[in-house]
Assembly symmetry: C2
């Protein structure tokens, strides 16, 4: 028995076949082209899945279930995508549409949640009963695993960790609120802070590396320059990691998971990021002498989407959900 | 079979006998006198329990287990109180000491957690699979119930909801951090805001009701004056309920429980508080058209401590814990 995992992104559809341990056997991808009618996107999701199955020399009969990770929220009762802002989807009957091509059980969940599930079964938080996955990308996403199972809340709106208030009346957020956590801890936030810094320090290495154009600065530019000791970049990175340490303390003070996993683009800064956050964290802990969550970097990278979606399908099909 | 629930506070020890549904059969109390050696405090905890048992015409043989709620954190593996700042306790062998008097299984947890458990079994969140209890008192405490059971985290430091960062570099907190949620949502915060207000508006009804002395202002003064339409009090209350709505959104965006219960001194403002928060909440929700947690006022009052401790004992003894 294998499982199909589909990672539906704003720009790319990636589908894969995994075994029960989350090992990818085959995969295929296609462009999302989000502005198309949803039926066409779903058709390509099915086509990628079937192509991967064929590559693995398997058939639909070998498939136990299909899991889908989406950048939004889903209702597994009805099998619909409730919201998916990137794709402009609202109340899309994804399960029904996908089953026209592959008539297997379909389960859908948030992309950060399935990535967290992937890490908790096949990645760095493997074996942990509870874990929280934080994606540090354009925004900040959260995936919560409790008792080994994804937790999406009583109404499906849990783990939106990017939208906890971190600053009352702070920086306006895309969600309509102000001062949300992702305005301080996302790659977008790091870039904003770097642009502010170069306007004050035009001689910074950051601006040089960005070809003299503030709009050319990305997360990697800032991190590379901080690693090389550029004072402006170091200051920006120091501020960013302070915010991140505060966010991590918020996760600890709320849920106290066994492991906290950092994923997404910024996590590619690796040990440089982890060390900086680890060093700041003790200052922000409530109980300074108590043990606390192990902090780790995600290890599954882009495959976390496929693996997690696939494991979601397996887990839900087994009625194993929390 | 009955259970003993002990609510250990900084000023008062309350012990009660309950049935399996959390109904109090008898209770007794004594002063804590926190500066005494812990052995004396524990001796009085046992004495109150035995007195309540006697009142109920029961004996130790009728007791299934003892639960204790403490204003701190405990380790149920060892039966010790790890921290209890109010009492100056640190690594106190509470189980061992209490069993010298009553040789029954002893389980210990945070007071807000047991109060949340009480409400979730015998109170306003009865029947909810997930709930979060917020105590709005001198500080802000949190109790998290997941799948009907208390969640205290992988290291016992979860549900410290008063110490989530709500304002980076905000008001210094007793915990050593700055800008913690309880600096904006506790009774202490409401009083601080009122004192600031009367320094600007000395003609406010608040100051009059406090006998002309800012130090005479308490939470009830502010709420009573706001109810009566005093402009300064209404403004303070409006600010306070904005902070509380933001905090509630943080609970929803993190855990999305079925019910959120407001307890503690400030919750005695009743419908006046609930209506003000309900009205503000939609503005701060991430998904404005999705259903979200039901917001309720605690109904068990001071009995929540005894009831929740007793139910904790019952649940732990039944090996029922998450």
């Amino acid at each position: 028995m294998v499982f199909i995992g589909i990672d539906l992104g704003g720009t790319k559809i990636a589908a894969g076949i995994t075994d029960k341990a989350g090992k990818i056997i085959a995969q295929a991808s296609a462009a999302t082209v989000a502005q198309r009618p949803y039926q066409e996107v779903v058709r390509d999701m099915a086509a990628c899945s079937l192509k991967a199955l064929e590559q693995a020399a398997l058939t639909i009969d070998d498939v136990g279930a299909i899991g889908v990770g989406i950048p939004g929220i889903a209702d597994n009762g009805t099998g619909t995508v409730v919201f998916c802002t990137n794709l402009g989807w609202h109340d899309i009957p994804l399960r029904e549409e996908l089953q026209k091509y592959i008539n297997k059980p379909v389960f859908i969940d948030n992309d950060a949640t399935v990535a967290g599930l992937a890490e908790s079964i096949a990645g760095v938080s493997r074996g942990a009963s509870s874990s929280v996955f934080l994606t540090l990308g354009t925004g900040v996403g959260g995936g919560i695993i409790i008792n080994g199972k994804p937790w999406t809340g009583a109404h499906g709106v849990a783990s939106e960790l990017g939208h906890l208030t971190m600053e009352v009346d702070g920086i306006p957020c895309t969600c309509g609120k102000d001062g949300c956590l992702e305005r301080y801890c996302s790659a977008t936030a790091l870039i904003r802070m770097a642009r502010e810094a170069v306007s004050l320090h035009p001689n910074s290495l950051i601006l040089q590396r960005a070809g003299g154009k503030p709009e050319g600065i990305d997360g990697r530019t800032v991190i590379d320059c901080a690693k090389e000791g550029d004072p402006a970049a170091m200051k920006v990175f120091d501020r960013y990691t302070k915010y991140l340490a505060l966010a991590i303390n918020t996760v600890i003070s709320f849920l106290d998971p066994e492991v906290i996993v950092l994923g997404g683009g910024i996590s590619h800064a690796g040990k440089f990021l982890l060390d900086a956050v680890q060093e700041k964290l003790p200052r922000y802990l409530m109980f300074k002498t108590m043990p606390y969550s192990r902090l780790e970097l995600a290890v599954l990278g882009n495959n976390a989407g496929i693996i997690g979606a696939s494991l979601l399908g397996m887990m839900m099909e087994e009625g194993n959900r929390l």
